[in-house]
Symmetry: C2
Subunit: 118 residues, 2 copies
């Protein structure tokens, strides 16, 4: 899979893909003898996972750490799990907070409603 296809499949621009490689999120991407990148299905899966972490607010720095561990092989599984557990806890806390915020927002909206109809 070439750059075009990969960027279409993952939804990242080619710029972003190269950026991700530069900062170490993507490692060991194959190359043609002329230097063009060749992406595999595994790369797609991995980027999808990166995107998921990103969408839950994990900073790229932390995703990098995960990538680092991942590259070091199976013996880092526990560390990776701990990292994910940590993030899951963060996410849960944020969800709780956001739910609260949302409730207050609805209260305010309700208040506006009475204000308007009066």
């Amino acid at each position: 899979m070439n750059m075009k296809e990969f960027s279409l499949t993952t939804g990242l621009t080619s710029h972003t893909v190269r950026y991700y490689e530069k900062i170490g999120l993507l490692k060991n991407i194959e190359r043609t003898k002329s230097g063009h990148r060749i992406f595999s299905h595994a790369d797609v899966i991995w980027v999808e996972f990166i995107t998921r972490l990103k969408d839950t607010g994990m900073p790229l720095k932390q995703i990098q750490q995960y990538a680092e561990l991942r590259e070091q092989g199976d013996h880092t599984a526990t560390d990776r799990m701990l990292l994910l557990e940590d993030h899951a806890a963060t996410l849960e806390a944020r969800l709780a907070l956001e739910t609260q915020h949302l409730k207050k927002l609805h209260d305010k909206i309700a208040y506006y409603k009475t204000l308007i109809s009066s």
Copy 2:
């Protein structure tokens, strides 16, 4: 209430407070005749509301719009309500997505657990 007190109460640094004033989130802050700002309780409430919106991911630009409407008085209540309703909907959608992401994260963690214990 002077700058120090205000920044302690709201949790914003004085730099951020001045920045918020500069970009129009805080308006009509009183001044002593020597130019120092005097904040009121209403300012605290308002900043808390700004913080709430910010914490739910509303960009400052949009909060500015709200501030603008707010300054124009009661006849903008409907507009403000619509803005909040819009944001509430956005937030709800994001919460739903994040909940899904969290679930997948837990799945992955569970997978790591079986991997490790095997």
